[in-house]
């Protein structure tokens, strides 16, 4: 039990328990804030996996961007002063059984598969290598991503404006 392990269990616990709250809590604002902890925990897992750049992007884009959007969505579509903010749920029991079977099966298969499980050294800072890849072999998807963002901008603006 090294320090690495302890930190991993900490982050994993934060991630899973807050994700559980995201999908079960009836108050939508609590749910959105639990998502904050989930995303934060996942950023920690990335950092443990030696993916420092991905961890930072996760924090900036997910926590700083997407989550804020979500909270705006929650705020704008619910009258906060009203008690109406609670959301209803449906099909709890069948959903629990179905997802439980499916998830259990998936888990059983994934954990019993013989993956390549090397004990590699932690890589040094990854930003440089990722930049190299993005500008060379993967420049085409990178450019495509620019177009996707343009389309998202156009689409969101055209839908949301009066």
């Amino acid at each position: 039990m090294t320090l690495y392990d302890i930190i991993f269990y900490l982050f994993a616990l934060v991630t899973i328990s807050s994700a559980y709250l995201v999908v079960t809590v009836r108050n939508i604002v609590y749910s959105a804030f639990s998502l904050l902890f989930t995303l934060f925990g996942i950023a920690g897992l990335y950092a443990l996996l030696g993916a420092d750049f991905v961890a930072i992007v996760q924090l900036i884009v997910y926590v700083g961007g997407i989550l804020i959007l979500m909270i705006f969505g929650v705020m704008l579509t619910n009258k906060i002063t009203n008690v109406q903010i609670k959301t209803g749920v449906f099909q709890i029991l069948p959903a629990t059984i179905g997802v439980g079977i499916f998830g259990g099966f998936l888990l059983a298969v994934l954990l019993n598969t013989n993956w390549l499980n090397l004990n590699v050294k932690d890589s040094p800072a990854t930003t440089f290598q990722l930049g190299q890849l993005l500008m060379n072999e993967w420049v085409l998807p990178f450019e495509l991503l620019g177009i996707v963002l343009l389309i998202a901008l156009l689409g969101a603006a055209s839908i949301a404006r009066k």
Binding site: V22, V23, L76, F90
Partner: protein, 103 residues
């Protein structure tokens, strides 16, 4: 408690994936359904980064995670624009109430 390996990360990601599916199935509010979708995307991302590290596959997995994060942002922007528009039209964002199109 054993030394952390790939399987631990897979465990976390699979649980997240299942919770995401559960959220999508059970939630009524469209914004909450979107949160479920975000959980699924994040679960896949953990897989990519973890497989890349423990399999020593290079940086491709991290690259994919980056792409997915950007796409998730784009999708969330469009989805919330649509949700806002729906709210203006229906004054509700509960999926089961938005059912004018007949079965």
């Amino acid at each position: 408690m054993v030394t952390v390996s790939l399987y631990h990360y897979l465990f976390v990601s699979t649980i997240l994936f299942s919770l995401g599916i559960f959220g999508i199935v059970t939630r009524k509010n469209a914004v909450m359904v979107l949160m479920g979708i975000e959980l699924i995307l994040n679960a896949a991302n953990i897989n990519f980064v973890a497989f890349a590290r423990y399999g020593n596959f290079g940086f491709q997995g991290q690259l994919m995670a980056l792409f997915v994060i950007v796409l998730a942002a784009a999708e969330a922007a469009i989805a919330l624009a649509i949700v806002l528009n729906i709210y203006k039209v229906f004054s509700s964002v509960n999926v089961d109430e938005i059912d004018r199109l007949k079965e």
